[in-house]
Subunit: 467 residues, 2 copies
């Protein structure tokens, strides 16, 4: 079993990437499943910790981590123990309709489990299966709460006209309401979440969407300390745009969704002051702020939740999670966000108990090993190393960002796509985002010992490019 | 372990339903999770086969099966073996981004696994996590294929205007296209799938929706053999309505989604001729027919797929699945439904390998034990028993339907809600749908020996009501 493995000392590359075995499997797979996006076929039994091993025997230091979603390393012993527990077997073979027939363990899995990491002020959770689903459920909660407030406390029953029109996809039963999102954001691929997503045409082309508004997300200039005035002005401009849209959009805007760091869109940051002002704006308009922590949550920024960096004066309304949580859903703070009637927010499975058991093991591991604090510390060292590379190769590493945000670090480079390939050839599995950005998304078990391996690989590749 | 259990001979009720322990846990759970819909808290370790045991020690014959989603009984030995396999442990602790880094087992899990049960003519599969997601992915595939056809073979590149407008949620990049669904249908709760859902206002109220059309689904009169002419005319009327909408809707309709038996909407059936004509209509208009087998698939109607009852002349375009599959996704037959570019149909997890392993164990169990044929046979006997009850209690059991459809049987009754409660009090966990319909959704391991238990319970409750 992989649990007997220990982490290897370094990457090891045996073949061209992708190797012949990956290519052969990919061709066979493509007959029944769209395999055009297959990058490597993996032997997960041989993968361990920060290292990913493909079926051609190549071993990569993995700082992409399954699109930022592996939290505590491959074949983590605590997770293996959870996966082998009798509770897990039961959850896998007796999949309940959690909303109707929860297991006797469900209360424990939430109250003594997921709720341990609920964002400050969030008292309740709703479980789901993906980030897209979590965000859409959050939108629905916001729309229902918004309409409750509109109806007023004395008028909560649904009129005949509302009942009839809802079934016909018409107002007032199915009203024209919007969620505001930001340019370059990514919130998922369902029809609601995709309407809020604004990162790439390949996500959106040919798909009908809700006519929801987008505001500009700040485009900060780096290094931050040299552009304070410009960046402040840029954030003010974006906030004014939000306020203008809230006041003038063709239909009421019931909520604003925002990533703490725009991730797919290019690792775009904004200041705590920006987010504080954004929260104040949503409060002023009596609408909901949905913080999409699908990619930023669970420790990667050196805080458990990235929004903890902001010092918000009030609890966030809704915080969505997935990816490193290994399950998905949303936490919320405002009791109005629980619908006024049962069965309004409901589906057959309402999440997956098996994945919540894994999520609890992830939380156990994070808390018992102080992996958030660890990531904050390692991230600071890693940032300094990348800053030195940026000084040495200023044409290849620029707009370095993520200082003080754990290992959630990114930089721009002229040709990210080629750089990814070259990094794989020297044993680093790494990801890109935005137009031409390299994003680091190591796991929470990425340690000081991995930093020189990563930096040496960059240096090797950059030295070749700079020739 | 539960695997050492055998199925008990009969239900056993010890307390009022719900019992004191369920009520106590429900109160505690409700603090952190919306527990208003909790019906019973379950001890899954004590549940076995067709019997569900709650934490108050009540044992129910379960013909609801977690909203029609338990396929082969609680604590099924084949599923337990799969859940304890090393492959499962790996899938749980090393969750891959399947689209980029599939495990070396993924090919086998699909080609030699799920594809064993692919509907006739369907050569490919796309994996997902819920029925809602499966249907939305199917809609997206239909929209992309429709636009490909519109663009024509020589003009597949995206224009600057399309690229720009897609990012703004505007046509032509994000075009106004529709999916036609049927009145009383249920296709899920996401923003796209919910726009197609038409069963109850509680699903749709206050949620913005796409302005997509609905056609009337046939309302057949029972018994069928006494109403042949009326029913034929009704189906013709509905087909004409579909054709009228396809020709005149305010935007192009790219696909039609239909359940083989409308389930949440009241177990509404239509004839094979209706579905054959519906397929012909979609072919005539060059659009896609999406058969939503989320509830009907995986054997419950006495065929593996309910649409096999229709004898369609051509392969179905898309068939979606979830629930008893214990995973989700869609099979498809037309190569145009694989998008023209990579990453158009993509997300981080693209399903869950762990759930696909369980699904394969379900398929093993169904095929090796001939559970589809078994269900066809048992269903016929069950139907005859219910027909006798209908004769004995014609005011309480009417519009009996599902003859020849395995155990997928339903009837109308004046007060379904009270009947459900009374049935629980005599040890039967059963579900309702539509306005006042009792729907049977036993597992595929429901046997002849369970029929008298179920019928006796009905008889006991009806005899009391009829007094």
């Amino acid at each position: 079993m992989a649990s007997a493995l220990s982490e290897p000392p370094a990457p090891s590359i045996q073949t061209a990437i992708p190797g012949a075995s990956t290519n052969a499997i990919k061709r066979e797979l493509d007959v029944v499943f769209d395999a055009r996006t297959t990058q490597m076929v993996i032997d997960y039994d041989k993968s361990y910790g920060n290292y990913l091993v493909d079926i051609d025997g190549n071993r990569f230091l993995d700082v992409y981590a399954q699109i930022a979603s592996i939290p505590v390393g491959y074949n983590n012993a605590t997770l293996i123990e959870a996966a082998q527990s009798p509770d897990m077997v039961s959850a896998l073979v007796n999949r309940p309709a959690i909303g109707n027939f929860p297991s006797r363990r469900w209360l424990n899995l939430l109250r003594d489990g997921l709720m341990r990491v609920a964002p400050r002020g969030c008292t309740q959770v709703f479980t789901a299966q993906s980030g897209s689903e979590a965000n859409e459920l959050a939108f629905k909660a916001a729309f229902m709460a918004y309409r409750r407030k509109q109806r007023g406390p004395d008028n909560q029953s649904w009129s005949t006209r509302e009942l009839e029109t809802a079934m016909k996809n018409q107002a007032p039963g199915s009203p024209d309401l919007a969620i505001l999102s930001f340019k370059d954001s990514f919130h998922g691929r369902g029809f609601g979440s995709l309407s809020a997503t604004r990162s790439k045409p390949v996500h959106k082309m040919d798909i009908p969407s809700f006519k929801w508004p987008q505001a500009t997300f700040p485009r900060l200039r780096y290094p931050l300390e040299e552009h304070e005035d410009d960046n402040h002005a840029e954030e003010q401009r974006c906030l004014q745009e939000v306020e203008h849209i809230l006041a003038s959009w063709q239909c009421p805007v019931a909520g604003v969704i925002v990533e703490p760091i725009q991730s797919e869109g290019g690792d775009n940051h904004a200041s705590p002051a920006f987010f504080q002002a954004l929260q104040a704006l949503t409060q002023k308009h009596g609408i909901y702020l949905i913080i999409d922590e699908v990619q930023t949550g669970f420790g990667a920024t050196g805080r458990f939740w990235a929004h903890e960096h902001w010092g918000l004066p009030a609890a966030p309304d809704i915080v969505t999670f997935s990816k490193k949580a290994q399950t998905a859903g949303y936490f919320f703070s405002d009791a109005m966000l629980r619908p006024d009637k049962a069965y309004r927010q409901f589906n057959t499975w309402m999440g997956d108990t098996a994945r919540v058991i894994i999520s609890n093991a992830v939380i156990d591991e994070i808390l018992s090993k102080n992996l958030v604090e660890h990531t904050a510390r390692v991230g600071d060292i890693l940032y300094e190393g990348l800053a030195a590379l940026s000084t040495k190769f200023p044409q290849l590493v620029f707009n370095l960002r993520g200082k003080g945000k754990g290992t959630y670090i990114a930089f721009d480079t002229p040709d990210a796509s080629s750089l990814l390939k070259e990094m794989r050839n020297v044993g680093i599995n790494i990801g890109s985002c935005g137009v031409s950005t390299i994003r680091l998304r190591p796991m929470l078990v990425f340690g000081e010992e991995h930093i020189p391996i990563l930096l040496d690989a960059f240096e090797k590749v950059f030295a070749r490019s700079a020739k």
